[in-house]
Symmetry: C2
Amino acid sequence: MGKKVLISGGAGFIGSHMVDRLLRRNDLETLVVVDNFWTGLATNLAHIRDPRLNLVTSNIEDFATGDKFDEIIHLASPASPPWYMREPIRTIRANLVGALNLVEMLVPGGRMSFASTSEVYGDPLVTPQPESYRGFVDCTGPRSSYDESKRCTEALLFECQRTRGIEIRVVRLFNVYGPRTRPDDGRAVSNFLSQALTHGELTLYGEGDQTRSWGYVDDIVDALERFFWLDSGITYGGPLNVGNDREISVAEVANYIVSLVPGARIKMCPPIPQDPTNRRPDLTICRQVLPGWQANITYEEGVKRTLDWFRDQIQHGAETDAPSPVRLED
Amino acid sequence: MGKKVLISGGAGFIGSHMVDRLLRRNDLETLVVVDNFWTGLATNLAHIRDPRLNLVTSNIEDFATGDKFDEIIHLASPASPPWYMREPIRTIRANLVGALNLVEMLVPGGRMSFASTSEVYGDPLVTPQPESYRGFVDCTGPRSSYDESKRCTEALLFECQRTRGIEIRVVRLFNVYGPRTRPDDGRAVSNFLSQALTHGELTLYGEGDQTRSWGYVDDIVDALERFFWLDSGITYGGPLNVGNDREISVAEVANYIVSLVPGARIKMCPPIPQDPTNRRPDLTICRQVLPGWQANITYEEGVKRTLDWFRDQIQHGAETDAPSPVRLED
């Protein structure tokens, strides 16, 4: 008997890459993809011709089925500030009510995997951030719907592990970028690329000296695949930092993209409230749990690949108007 | 037209005191109390003869009605570690899914009040704790179902204030105790009193040097009543620390109770995992928002009153077996 697997958010940026990896599995019997196409795109799955795939259009918090699953991978959530700030209640529902719904759909002994985020560290006072760092999140602030619903979903899963004995895999992802990001995603790399390829004006919020650890999606999905199902014998359920630990400023990325696209230029804009000043994963545990894994693709290479992909998208008429960041009185 | 008010957890310890206060209001038309009697007790409301009261037995996350309410006060949640550690998923549901349900039941311009907790500060590295302190909570730890669902519910309400313009009142309560605590509540004061009055052996976990700021329920409810509805002209929605800022060690309370009850004695027990080492509210904002309010009742006086109440309960046959704290590998 093959495995019955469910993935929420499977039409999204990371989700659709995970679907590709899941469909490589010989032990997979059915793959139910649940997506409400809030931030996911049907085009991300349009290339798939696999009878094991069953795509369901639904909010994950409302999804109902009589089936149970051997493995559930919960990725349903917007990940970009302008998206979750516009619909914070929906963001909390997707993450947490989604997870509450999904944990009831596991077979006994099933495994639930969850994509948490480096945003659980907030604006960190410690660098690099180890998993033991408890974070610096304003639970009443403008980013709280995302940060706190990820934190609370982690709490839920670790408590399910403790009280119900379910197997869990919780990763904290650090600024993933690459092909299949929405052109109107609104985060730095995709924003800069969309802007560079259209009107040419890259909006840099604040001084641009805030740093991130940019993880190219292929590298990140390599790690997720190993942690979620491929590597046998893993007993560590998380939380596991997954990312590239090379820390680069937002301004450096913008300047690099300007150097690649003739006519592109930078426009300085006021800072975004509570934009984290720095972010870099401590990968000590990751190296133990996933020996040999590391993020191999430099940001220079990853940005070039993503640029090519965006260029191709724009030539084929995708939406490219990146939304403005939500303006907030802080 | 009078006000339609809903209170969740209204049969609970603090909730039932709030119901008494609400029924003093002349502008109150109906008061819907929703309680599932998980930690609430019917006896807490047994003295009430008021036709405006409508008691509904339901989980707050499952409660459905066609009515809308002018004011909603969300108190449904266990507050004692042994209770929420035994049923963490239910705890998250009560707080967060309850709040998600309730925010849809407000009339336009309605007000939603929420009892959050000093536990959002976790094991604080700053003392006293101002509301701006972002806390030190392990979102994967054994207390996380409570701490993180309170944090995420705060996030939800502040985001509802921002995106929907609803009026909110969020308080962070510090270690409230007093009459109508369950004898089997399991927190320090009630635990010590139950133990002193039955087998006489007070279980002190760890060295007892962890401090708390014990707030007698009458003082606390005075503040809540003012903040939630009585004082007009409040524009600050919170978060608002409410508590007694006299910081007392757990051992001191235990010794005091031993001095009051002949034959009572202390039994040293191993520490409880992630028991916060200290806790004390910074009341600067509270003094501005609720001028003249302060916690007047000393812990010596409050403990005596609570002792009398517990003694009376025990004579009338209430349950007194305090549960053991949940033991955890940390």
